[in-house]
Amino acid sequence: MRLIELEVHNLRGIKHLKVEPNGGNLLIYGPNGSGKSGIVDAIDFLLTGKIARLSGDGTKDITLKEHGAHISAEPKDAWVKATFSINGLKEHIHLERNLKTAGKLKYPEKHAAVLAPILEAAGRGNYVLSRRELLKVITADGATRAQQIQGLLNIPDVETTRKTLQKLESKVKEQWKNAKETVEQSKQAIFASCEGASLEVEVMRSLVNTHRTNIGLQPATTDLDWFTGISVQPNSEKDSYLFAKQVAGNLLKSTTRRDDISSGLNELTSKLLEITNDLAAFRLHKRMQLTQLGQIAVEEDKADSCPLCDMQWDHQELTDYLAKKIKNSASVIKDKESIEALASGLTAALGTIAEGLKQIISEIQVLPELASSQKIITDWLNRLNQAITELKSPIENYPFSFNPGSMNSVLAENGHTALSDINDHLQKLAPNESEAIKSQVFLHKLSTLWQALNMASLRMSKCEKALLRATAISENFLISRDAILNQLFASVNDRFVELYRYLNSDNEGNFTSELRPETAAIILKVDFFGYGMHPPHALHSEGHQDSMGLCLYLALMEKLTEQKIDIVVLDDVVMSVDADHRRLLCELLVKLFQKKQFIITTHDRVWASFLSHQGLIASKNRLSFTGWDVENGPHISNWKDIWSELETSLEDNKVPEAAAKLRRWGEEFFSNCCHNLKAPVVYKSHGSYDFGDFFSPAIGKLNDLLKLATKAATSWDQKDRLPLLEEIKTKYSDSCKQFNIEQAAINPNVHYNKWATHTPAEFRKVVQAYQNLHENFLCKKCSSLLTLTTEGALPLDLRCACSDINWNLKCK
């Protein structure tokens, strides 16, 4: 997608503006405050319906609706229209957006499908870079950088999904735990009502068949037939009392279980006491939990600092340290597991009593005469439930709220007395019945409990399957995310390194970097002159950081906008990059990003001129913003070249001003000529060069190259080229002569700017000499500087960016 034409009306600082880059690069040059960024805002608004500069830090009270339109205009009168070319489409597409209906982009409906991915990419802002954002990516900590880059990559969606899937897994796991607990409780309820102490199928089948025989039914042949034939519903009060009596009898009889529980509690207490008495071991236990929690927190957040003291760590080092600490605590883990196993057995035994009590309470609650006994066993049940809860995390909950050494505490002697009273009373209400009736009641109750167990098991099985599925989705999402992001980041990192090396080939030709995603952060470390990998802002200069930000952005942008948006907006991004690196940056943009359409704003004339001379910006695509006022917005003129600027100064009789401009321009221009023509400049150890150091080598070198071009054309018998070369050489020679005369005349003043002695008319002759000379170094068609290409030290050709000039320098 390339910008053909842009028209802005009443938006931000712009009153009305129309530019026609026709798909080519566009340069907007002007001083600060001249409204250059208004063009960036307009493109941003058109493609996204938003203006990035009006959002983010420090823009709390700024709204697009209130502050988007030009100061004197209503939102309905503020709009942006543009025509774009789209890859693969013959016709251009016209887009239009009005501030009043900012959320709605007008475009031909038939192109909706083509535009959708482009607008989606534009919405992420991948194509705009301002210096404001540039350093954020570089200097931010891992988590903030992650937000920045995630914003560019549209990864917040991915992060939201990751969190959702993590929540899903936790939620399903919780449901599975609950279902598992229900199964345990159902089993305990059966234990409590059975005389048998095992739920093994053989034992249960034998028990069921004994009772079936008692009521005259055939023994069940399959496990599905256990309760077949028990058609009479034993729902009389008497039957209920009978069942409750059976359960109470079971509980009272189970002295073995009570003894087991008692000795189990003693053993557990003794083990826990060992730990608590040994302070070091107890601390280790406590710290172990903390370490394990810390490990989870560090892993989940991909933290690069200690979650307790915030001390900075490398994430991997911190993870390894915690893993080692946990591994070294193997004996602690063994103790913990032994204690938890013991507590688990106790929980099951106490749970069986609790379930039995629940059944009894449920059956006798209609008997007011047993109210006091019921209260006692209800209290007992509550104490049991509390004990069960505490025993589920024995180390964390020790010392317990109950006294494990006291029978009254958990096993409740008074509870047993109450249970005996209940049993006696029920005996009166349901005197000894026949074995057949007892079996009938038992089987009916057991069928209910068995059904509950089956239901609970089914639920647990369903939860197990759901947990497997949730875990599979969650884990594989992470695996896929890491694979894709690692691949993306590796590729971006490679390109980042390539671009940065290009810009800094003079002293960081072996530069390397590491860019990798971690759960909630993106790590960026860069090599510092072979002295290890460090955060980019730790040791590198601000200029280098700017370079890094730019290179990282270009690498990311290239990857993410491929085949979608060719437009790249660079909004004043080279402020702290020095002149030499700007030259390389310009080369880099020309050579490595040929398919992109750059829209560049700058307040730096030298950089603006340089972009033109290097052939990145065609002369017709240069806009000059000379000022701004509230009434009219930016004062825009066609590109005002240096000669027009000098003339303006001379018309105002400002010779010193014109001289200073000419000197600054000359230094920059001839240094670029020396660079492009590979002209030898005398080295100065202090590194401070001026105009005088550049013009002579540049003039001499071009002279040599034109002579060489003539020699090469002659050797190849290209007689048709010789007249033109002679004409160029003659013109060049005349320019040099004129320049030398003027240069000689003004030379004493060059370094001191003592131009006041010249009249504007006299100085015009100097300017004319400079202008005539400089034209020899440029292509008339593309305005780029002539460049010498070589093969090793051997000159190959002298050419311009558009190849309209292309002199062979290689002789036959």
Binding site: V158, L168, K465, F477, I479, S480, L488
Partner: protein
């Protein structure tokens, strides 16, 4: 697994995830279709929808065989 700039990263991750979970045979083709982003029948970031999906017991023996 190649990075595809024509799809959002979220889409690419979801599609890769579907490839992976297909191999677990825990999901039927029908469910995997529902999970694919193109249909957008199940927003991956919606907890309730995802919970409903993992609990949905539509896995029959036939469909499991189909996954093979």
């Amino acid at each position: 697994m190649n990075f595809d700039s024509n799809k959002s990263i979220q889409q690419q991750i979801i599609l890769a995830t579907i490839v992976e979970i297909r191999m677990t045979k825990l999901f039927t083709d029908k469910e995997l279709d529902v999970l694919s982003t193109d249909s957008l029948a199940v927003p991956w970031s919606n907890l309730e929808s995802m919970e409903k999906l993992v609990f949905a017991d539509v896995t029959s023996e036939d469909e499991v065989e189909k996954c093979d």
